[in-house]
Amino acid sequence: MTRLAGKRAFVTGGRQGIGQGIAERFCDEGARVITCGRGADPGLTGVAWHQLDVADPAAVNALAEIIGGIDILVNNAGVQVEKTVADSTDADWDLVMGVNARGVFNTCRAFIPRMQRGGSIINIGSISGHVADPSMALYNASKAFVHGLTRSVAVDHGPDIRCNAICPGWIETGMLEAGFELARDPALARDDALSRHPVRRFGKPGDIAAMAVWLASDEAGFATGQLFTVDGGMTAASPLNPGLF
């Protein structure tokens, strides 16, 4: 599989989960992959690592100087704080909007001048940017920012660069399992959540990586400015499912 042969990709937040899944698939497809994160090198085979806080514009600009030209930018780095507006602190705002919103802006601004015609930017939005997850106010809003910026980049920087967002639903990570453990009856909560997915399973990082590969490839040459939801059908259904009561 060499759909990305000869392309150079920079994936933010490549330590684990969706970012790791995308980095690995891009490698398999023949791309040269660079990732970054706030911590130490996780040691992914064949993947270059840089320590970076995407919320820091000077640091992003400095790293862009080092990395140079790329064909594919994936803005995957993200954080979440589980609070309502009333409970959120200024520090919560700075953290969530800093990474999820300003971070995407920082990397786009730094790398767009370093991308040639045919370049593809893939932002990780969320179904939470369309419909609200309870007690995730800043996260939901930050993802709506990502959706809006995606359209702006596509409009302003076409035809040279395409820009799309992937909106994942519930992806199997440690975070999802931790959520079920908090339930009164974890097994019931898990079954209930599964029954709300028409495909009767949760997503895997590879499901998102598969869409990222397509959007990064030249096969997606006519796709730009769009939000691609990959959620196993969950948001196609009403949040009210009387069959479950």
């Binding site: 609200a132 969950m234 948001t235 009403s238 009210l240 499912n241 069959g243 009561f245």
Partner: protein, 264 residues
């Protein structure tokens, strides 16, 4: 009173939502024609606030022509058309017969088309006389996201949404505004039938526990009343809404603003 001097026709005028709209229009000073299959439809309604009844099967073009001829003779023009007639088949596509599918489209989509088509000359007359003529269709939040086991209904409502935008484009230049209201769960005979239906209450609860569970999923912690819908219909029908056209107005107590709720 917002609708003084205006003439309105409401299809499904004896149904749960239609009846509330007829009454509200009457209270706001409009002359109202309530059109339905029979005067005792879902609700047997009499008195001035029940409007002037017209027998109308919205799937019949002859009925639509006759109804508009009657309104033309009686009132000379039509300022407001509300397409509130609708039916709901509670089945997946596999269980839906072709007859049921066709009937769903005949009432919900073709009915909207026929009634609006033959109302246009009367609406144009109102617009020419300086009225902000208004067609209000009934879509549904089900036109955006699906309820299980309501396939034909979901499809017809999606069609009404697209038809609403198309009509707004085509007839805006003639001074006719076209909007759709997309209700969520509204306390009507249709909703009660849904509660009592086989497709719901799978957990073995009673209708009361199901109703409470449905309320609890809504950010407003209740489902809506026909009067809630009539409030927005009244605004869209009035001259205050003269710049509102081509839009789908979701009124659902916040239901569709949220993602699926994890049961914790």
């Amino acid at each position: 009173m917002k609708l003084e001097g205006k003439t309105a026709l409401v299809t499904g005028g004896r149904g749960g939502i239609g009846r509330a709209i007829v009454r509200r229009f009457h209270d706001e000073g409009a002359r109202v024609f309530a059109a339905d299959l029979s005067p005792d439809g879902s609700f047997d309604d009499t008195g001035a606030e029940a409007g002037e009844f017209i027998t109308l099967d919205v799937t019949s073009e002859n009925d639509a022509i006759a109804a508009m001829a009657h309104v033309g003779e009686q009132a000379g023009q039509l300022d407001i058309l509300v397409n509130a007639a609708g039916i709901e088949i509670e089945k997946t596509i596999e269980d839906t017969t072709l007859e049921e599918w066709n009937q769903s489209f005949a009432v919900n989509v073709t009915g909207t088309f026929l009634t609006a088509k033959h109302a246009l000359p009367l609406l144009r007359r109102a617009a020419a006389a300086g009225s902000s003529a208004s067609i209000i269709n009934f879509g549904s939040y089900d036109g955006f996201i699906a309820d299980p086991g309501l396939a034909a209904y979901c499809a017809t409502k999606g069609a009404v949404h697209a038809l609403t935008r198309a009509m707004a484009c085509d007839h805006g230049p003639e001074g006719i505004r076209v909007n759709a209201i997309c209700p969520g769960y509204i306390d009507t005979p249709m909703l009660q039938s849904f509660f009592e239906g086989e497709g719901s209450g799978g957990g073995g609860g009673t209708i009361e526990t199901l109703q409470q569970a449905v309320r609890d999923v809504h950010p407003m912690r209740s489902y809506g009343t026909p009067e809630d819908i009539a409030n927005l219909v009244n605004w869209l029908a009035s001259d205050e809404a003269r710049y509102a056209s081509g839009q789908l107005w979701v009124l659902d107590g916040g239901l569709s603003a949220q993602v699926q709720q994890m049961r914790l």
